[in-house]
Subunit: 487 residues, 2 copies
């Protein structure tokens, strides 16, 4: 007989009843091959005594085994493992090797072996991030109050059931009106799909536009997750230089004369990572080329809400009479990264297809959160927050730039950004950013090591220094630490 | 001079300042071609009088136009549209036609022309759904209390910033322990990725496994959004018959002898739409075949938590010693469809790749919601809810089945389901389900028209009749209405 006393051990405090625990342990003995088909199970009296439980519990466990098809009971003989059960092979996980790099039991191609995976931020470390909002300034509690009160009011109502894959109609209506007020962009409510942040807008647009082998024009420097999204769809990236007026559209034109481009991805307001704004002349020329060469412009305008000098430039989408522009925006980036709400607009068939694809990806968004945001747009809280935070972020930008100017002029060159939440800081060539980040971490300062901003054709020694998420004292302290690490 | 009085109209109540409104209207006149490069703008005094605003406002608007690069100011001559601006072509959207079915300004292939898009449910209509939980029974308010209190406690803390793309570690730990207690499934915390409902699990697994041209085995009847997800990835569907013991694995074996299969998608507990449970013998045989032929098993176990007779069968994942199973579960389906939380487990490289892909799709989930669910798992509220609702759903299942038996025996055949939230109801061939659904809607009863359950090889005259979301009175009323519509 098998050593059942050690093989079968029950936990009287578990939430699963004792007979199910015993049953499951027998299943495990059968599937691991310890018990073979047609093997006899120990008598209920014997087992009960061995493992110290009531005999009826053992009987119940055996009944369960029989009813689930693992065993059969033969009158006067006992309970046997079902003889016709297929025998599972012993764990036969192949060794890793040339032909079997992932040593998995099934075949698949891992396209993500060296992929970028965000880990949560280090806790309790002073962080110079890449340009995130200060969640302490956002009306998160107002949002949560709405969220909870909506869910209570709608308890058992339709908002908690499945909704439209285009997203909440109330939020789409609120965003329509917000787009029209803030940037003269008129789109019908049906031409908006609510996304989880701007990243999902990029993903949806890419999947709909790109077939493997298509070309996408992107900045020589670019947002790496956009590059990765295009590559994942099988796109070839065509890198276009970016200067102080944004992407070099004349250069793009030269390329268009001999090469077909399916889409151009731009962040005209303000380019990532360098924060430059695309000039009006280039915007108009890009629109003209799009009409001529029939490509799509993916306009990622996640940064629109923060601008400090003039009023912001109108997006290309606002002056696009030919419907070449797929316009992507974000509420996430201006509110709190973890509350993921964004939107995408475009021609109506395109937006409908995006909603259908979204249905395959995750059915729909969080309807209650979307409704709560709609309330905040409609009662003016969002605008109050934008106004308030704009003023504070301008001060923070000025402070950071002032300190960089006075204390870091030998180490860092930069331009004061017109908008957005970060300064693009080019470090002196002698400074090793990876080492700098390591040294800073030892002093409890978290700072980028620059690798996020590089790509196969862009080797820069720079990082984005976010000024929005740190208050005055924190900024001063962070830069003092940085100074110490540098010298 | 252009008729500026009608072209430029300002709204004194708008949140955008007057000079920006005027500026934006001039931009619109320029981009639409009404104003051409080098055209002169009206003098500020003239325009101010025409449209009834202060002359300084006009001056500010012109300064804004100049600073944004739309116009230039020539001393003593006036303000002119910038002469070197590219002229945008007039809207030249091509007419729809054979070569241009979408009549968009750019080229793309619409794979979603006839796609299924969920619209929100009709408001205030009694609904026999396909098997959703009763959101009135779920502890939504407890969840919301946690959600709000977490977000308040963590205000400015890391949970509102970007988190791991695998999802909250607290929730992953809670789900690990829940999987181990409820179904003997031991997985390391790193091998779990939190998803938005089970649909995202299906999408991620499919994208990682399937290359265009690969074959996926699915039930002859199957969950249509899974079929669509496989097809979207370019898979060929191989349909396997499903009988009262689940998918016919002997049939699958015959096919494997001459055809390579990349993955087998099953809903063993309980099949969708027919609610049958896969037998133990078939489960073991499928695992054996997977080891032999090295395919992946995508086990969609969204329905695990609801079972009324015995304890549920262990998932294939729990008895899979060879790591062939990718296991997908849902909290959404058991809680509230709009609060989208699910999970996927599998070999560790596979789960890491899923997290990397997720980063491209939407960066991460809603960290605060994930943390709130973790609290409810850890303080026992989830289990209390499961126990309570199980009892109520069993009663509701029994009631529905009893009425179907006594009042609909000529119209509907069905088996009492062992678990899940719906009865699979086969209607008499003479009943036109589309017409039935239309007639029912006229009596304010919403009911499926059966199209969701059909596919290219499965023409059934059936619908899933959910019993969970209606209380006793509602069930009685809904079935009385259905009876009236039928006869």
């Amino acid at each position: 007989m098998l050593p059942y006393k050690s093989l079968i051990q029950v936990d009287r405090n578990a939430s699963v009843s004792l007979h199910i625990q015993v049953c499951n342990m027998f299943i495990s003995l059968i599937t691991s091959g310890t018990l073979q088909p047609a093997d006899i199970l120990p008598g209920s009296r014997v087992l009960a005594q061995l493992i110290g439980i009531n005999r009826n519990t053992v009987k119940l466990a055996y009944e369960e085994l029989v009813s689930q098809g693992w065993a059969e009971s033969v009158e006067r003989k006992g309970v046997f493992v079902l003889s016709k059960l297929p025998v599972l092979s012993r764990p036969a996980v192949p060794e890793p090797g040339k032909n079997n790099p992932h040593h998995e039991a099934f075949t698949w191609t891992n396209k993500f072996e060296n992929a970028w995976i965000t880990k949560g931020p280090e806790k309790e470390m002073l962080t110079i991030d890449g340009g995130f909002p200060d969640v302490r300034l956002t009306p998160v509690d107002l949002l949560m109050r709405e969220y909870r009160s909506l869910s209570r009011r709608l308890y058992g109502k339709n908002y908690l059931k499945y909704g439209s894959s285009k997203g909440s109609e109330n939020l789409r209506t609120a965003i329509c009106s917000y787009l029209s007020h803030t940037r003269g962009l008129s789109v019908p409510v049906e031409n908006i799909v609510i996304t989880k942040g701007s990243q999902m807008g990029i993903y949806l647009a890419t999947q709909l536009l790109i077939n493997p082998g298509d070309s996408v024009a992107v900045g020589l420097s670019n947002y790496v997750l956009a590059d990765d999204t295009f590559r994942y769809a099988g796109a070839n990236l065509v890198r276009i230089p970016v200067d102080t007026y944004g992407m070099d559209i004349d250069h793009l034109e030269t390329i268009l004369q001999y090469r077909s481009i399916k889409a151009v991805y731009i962040i005209p307001h303000h380019h990532y990572p360098t924060t430059v704004t695309m000039s009006t002349e280039r915007r108009l020329k890009l629109l003209k080329l799009a009409t001529e060469y029939r490509f799509a412009i993916i306009e990622d305008d996640y940064d629109f809400d923060f601008h400090y000098n003039n009023k912001p430039y109108l997006p290309l989408a606002s002056i696009d009479h030919n419907q070449n522009v797929i316009y992507i925006g974000s509420v996430t980036k201006t509110f709190a990264p973890a509350l993921r709400i964004g939107f995408m607009t475009g021609p109506s068939a395109f937006v409908n297809a995006a909603a259908a694809l979204r249905e395959l990806i995750d059915k729909q968004g969080d309807t209650v959160l979307e409704e709560a945001f709609a309330v905040l747009f409609n009662n003016g809280e969002m605008e109050r927050y934008f106004r308030k935070s704009l003023k504070i972020y301008r001060q923070r930008r000025n402070l950071l730039c002032q300190i960089l100017q006075s204390d870091f002029s030998n180490d860092i060159t930069f331009n004061v950004p017109e908008g957005g939440l970060a300064v693009w800081a080019n470090f002196n060539e002698q400074i090793d950013l990876v080492k700098l980040a390591e040294d800073a971490a030892k002093k409890r300062l978290q700072i980028d090591d620059g690798s996020f901003y590089k790509n196969e054709s862009y080797a820069v020694n720079g990082i984005r220094m976010g000024f929005a998420s740190l208050d005055e004292n924190e900024t001063i302290k962070a830069l003092e630490l940085l100074k110490k690490v540098l010298h």
